[in-house]
Symmetry: C2
Subunit: 186 residues, 2 copies
DNA sequence: TGGTACATGTAACATGTTACATGATTAG
DNA sequence: CTAATCATGTAACATGTTACATGTACCA
């Protein structure tokens, strides 16, 4: 029915369904793991998009299994729709950093409070970096032909470079903004 | 009426209104210039939020001027609301990069097409970097006491580090993904 | 037998996007 | 006179978020 172009979220679900039939739950998990760093998806979105795509004939529900699992598989129309999406030039990135908003208006916040918030964010970014580096080590340890392909590794690499840049930024903030870099003794 | 906590978009409008009364148009322009890199706002959002905040008593419309300009000023309640927002720990960042989505599913796209899309994005990032670097040069050239404060400069610095990291990523993609880095002769 | 993880789904709402309608003012 | 820019606003829709309701199966 719907010839409307796919949105990126729906498209990514179709992308994963190329690997085989999956339930909404599976899709949430794989999306979180593989694209969570630069494309967040919530559970209710997944079920909503699956329902819409099923109505549009892009996916097909299979038999309900144990625990009411309902696997969806991609249809031929779904593959075509996905291919059309993939051929389009990707849109511009969207970055929303409430933390930087806090920084721009930093003059309105008690300095110790702003510093504490920044330190907390720095920790989170450090943790993410560590996580991505672990993933990369795993990827590189995988026997040839196994493990993530070059495309997926490139995304991991992006995450690592991004997090490193963010940490560098934290560590080079002027003392008036972040007096005592988290984790540093002196 | 509304004691509901501010959303970040509304809060940033209030933040700018600390500088003095502004019209919706002015706010769009200043937001685009100062926080556009990490917080996008559209015109219709601005007018909607202004209307909502006026209803909630956080801003007050002034007399209409030439060209029907309608300046809004922040009220005392608005200042309080903004201060409360600013004291909260900033939320997590949200990054949405359709380009990386294209990369993850890169195996489904004709290589020359993907490469062309990537090259185009690389150009855009290079342009942004140049723009931020110009801004920084301007900021550093300003006489002491004029020009952007340390907080605003820190955000600029973020933009520069971010764009550099992105460009480095492009320039280190494996040849199977981006065979001929844009702008490079050999 | 009780807690945790699995699994699906809905409802209500907030936020963001796109397109359009309308008109004033200015510069050439 | 006319095109560009300034300026406000609405309508319709798409997308994203949060909270909740319901129930299954595994494991200690």
């Amino acid at each position: 029915m719907t010839a409307r172009p796919l949105n990126a979220t729906a498209a990514s679900l179709l992308g994963f369904l190329h690997l085989g039939p999956m339930t909404g739950w599976d899709l949430v998990a794989i999306a979180e793991r593989q694209i969570g760093a630069f494309w967040s998806i919530t559970q209710s979105q997944v079920y909503r998009e699956l329902a819409a795509m099923a109505a549009a004939g892009l996916v097909e529900p299979g038999e309900r299994g144990a625990r009411d699992r309902r696997p969806f598989s991609i249809t031929e129309a779904g593959r075509e729709s996905f291919a059309a999406w993939a051929a389009q030039p990707p849109g511009d990135e969207l970055i929303r950093m409430p933390m930087l908003l806090s920084v721009v208006f930093g003059a309105h916040t008690p300095p110790h409070l702003l510093a504490a918030h920044l330190a907390s964010h720095r920790d989170r970014h450090a943790a993410k970096l560590a996580e991505y580096e672990d993933d990369l080590a795993l990827a590189e340890g995988a026997p040839p032909g196994y493990g993530p392909d070059a495309y997926i590794r490139a995304c991991l690499d992006f995450g690592i470079r991004y997090e490193r840049a963010v940490l560098d930024w934290f560590d080079n903030l002027p003392a008036e903004i972040l007096p005592d870099p988290a984790g540093a003794a002196g």
